[in-house]
């Protein structure tokens, strides 16, 4: 992946920076220029909480080429404690033990390794919340 694409998303992927609409309070992640709820165009910066619950998940067994070494891996949508939903891989778990409603925590992980010479992509993954 070209470095500019990775670099631009760092504030979202590394720091979970989101935008809270100054008018209606809806939190959007990643940033947008216009609130999808009320159309307002001003936001204040908020950081997403790092815990939540799984709303749905699936175990990917036929993976795209960047992820073949990791198959089977699970992806899921989690609803964080502030209501924001996001999609990420679910790491550090037995893929057969995942359940809807499982509590998760967000951890910083390497998401993509671009062969032996590309730029590394870091970001967030879910892990089961065990403490």
């Amino acid at each position: 992946m070209f470095p500019s694409r990775i670099w631009r998303e760092a504030k979202h992927r590394y720091r979970l920076e989101a935008g809270k609409c100054k008018k209606c309070g809806k939190v959007v992640f990643p940033y947008r220029l216009i609130c999808p709820e009320c159309g307002h165009r001003e936001f204040e910066k908020v950081i997403l909480p790092d815990t939540g619950k799984l709303v749905t998940f699936s175990v990917i067994r036929v993976a795209p080429s960047q992820f073949t070494d990791e198959a089977p891996y699970a992806i899921g949508i989690a609803e964080l404690t502030n209501g924001v939903k996001l999609l990420a891989q679910i790491a550090d778990c037995d893929v057969d033990q995942i359940k809807v409603g499982m509590e998760i925590r967000i951890e910083f992980r390497r998401v993509q390794t671009d062969s032996h010479h590309g730029v590394l992509s870091y970001g967030y993954k879910f892990v089961p919340k065990w403490y």
Binding site: R5, E9, P30, P36, V55, T56, F57, S58, V59, I60, R61, V62, A63, P64, S65, Q66, F67, E70, Y73, I75, G76, I77, K85, L86, L87, A88, Q89, V100, V111, Q112, S121, G123, K125
Partner: protein
């Protein structure tokens, strides 16, 4: 707005078409449509193609395909709404004729997906999802629909059997379609034992990678009468989008773009779902067909699976769905699908569907629902035979 009719349809045999290129298969379908219509010229052409660029490195399809179709200086272009590109091409052509801008317009769809290898195809298809917030994390299309399936099963108790029933039904219909990629029946056991792709979806829950093209010709009802063609009017067209990423949507057990597009189409046609006799819907994955039928208002939320199990959407059922074999059995050359759906609707309304899949009860009103990505775009059309 003028009344618009479909006067010609053409389609290629869907499959892994090694011998023919993108331009070959499109022209084959287009010529078949022109011959079927008996028109001697076109005013313009809109082609739906999700991504000639990523699949075969070819953009600028309007120019290329008008050229290869022998249509000198034709106003031609390519439109894109992921897997709903064909449906969008149809809508644009409809608007062009209805508005009075043009009289005879071709709407087509084409996708050549096998010149790139499996990995390349997966990469190209992923462009229909949220590249930075879904694909980046390893979400695949089966994965995204699997997320919907899990949510639907959690909320409504939809079962493995219900998903399998969709695939079995569609293969049953497709086995009678000479243009289908997989024209053979399958059993529920075949589906259940097929390899897991993204839990709970197995390979037999997923539509295939396909090369194919379809084309239809739209014109005014007056011209259609002059051509001596059965009058198949486009009475409703609806187009809507939804948030592209699944996690942005409030409820992933329903497809809001489908509901909204359908509402618009019904309103325009002055009809409700009860007035529709049959439909071609976008079964890119078995769960998609179930959710679509609920989102169209055909079945109550959560009841779509039960309905398939009971046979309500089979050829003999109260509301036949995917008489063509659907995307599962017919194949899913993504940009062509929307146009291929129209081809089937027209054939059924004309009474020309091949082999045993022609509906016996003289259908009058048919519907086509064509979806892009994980439901981020939907086109719904309603056609009626006079």
């Amino acid at each position: 707005m003028r009344d618009v009719a479909v006067v010609g349809v053409g389609i290629t045999k869907f499959g892994e078409v090694w011998d023919n290129s993108l331009r070959d298969i499109y022209v084959e379908a287009a010529l078949a449509a022109i011959d079927d219509a008996g028109v001697d010229h076109l005013d313009s052409m809109t082609v739906g193609c999700m991504t000639g660029g990523l699949f075969v490195g070819q953009e600028h399809l309007g120019s290329l395909l008008a050229d290869y179709l022998g249509q000198k200086n034709l106003a031609a272009s390519r439109v894109e709404t992921a897997c709903a590109s064909g449906g969008l091409a149809f809508r644009n052509a409809f608007i062009e004729v209805a508005s009075g801008m043009s009289d005879i317009v071709m709407a087509g769809g084409v996708e050549k997906m096998t010149d790139i290898g499996g990995d390349g195809a997966t990469y190209a298809l992923a462009a229909a999802a949220d590249q930075e917030y879904e694909v980046f994390h390893g979400a695949t299309f089966p994965g995204l629909y699997a997320l919907m399936a899990v949510a639907h099963m959690e909320k409504y108790g939809t079962t493995r059997d219900m998903l399998s029933a969709v695939a079995v039904k569609n293969h049953n219909n497709g086995s009678m379609n000479p243009f289908a990629q997989y024209p053979f029946k399958i059993t529920k056991e075949t589906v259940e034992n097929s390899v897991m792709v993204a839990s709970p979806l197995r390979i037999m829950d997923c539509s295939p990678i396909t090369d194919g093209a379809a084309a239809v010709i739209l014109t005014t009802v007056d011209i259609a009468k002059k051509l001596g063609k059965p009058i198949i009017k486009v009475i409703g067209s609806g187009h809507a989008t939804d948030m592209i990423a699944l996690h942005s949507r409030d409820d992933i057990t329903t497809l809001q773009a489908t509901s909204v597009a359908a509402e618009k189409a019904f309103k325009m046609a002055g009809k409700t779902i009860k007035d529709i006799d049959f439909a071609e819907v976008h079964d890119c994955f078995t769960i998609a067909e179930i959710i679509v039928t609920e989102s169209l208002g055909l079945f109550a939320p959560g009841k779509g699976g039960e309905a398939v199990l009971k046979g309500e959407t089979s050829l003999e059922g109260a509301f036949p769905i995917n008489t063509s074999g659907g995307l599962k059995s017919k194949g899913h050359p993504v940009g062509a699908t929307g146009a291929a759906q129209i081809v089937e609707v027209v054939k059924q309304l004309r009474g020309e569907a091949e082999n045993g899949r022609q509906l016996k009860n003289n259908p009058k009103v048919g519907m086509a629902q064509n979806m892009g990505g994980s439901g981020g775009s939907t086109l719904v059309h309603i056609l009626e035979v006079d």
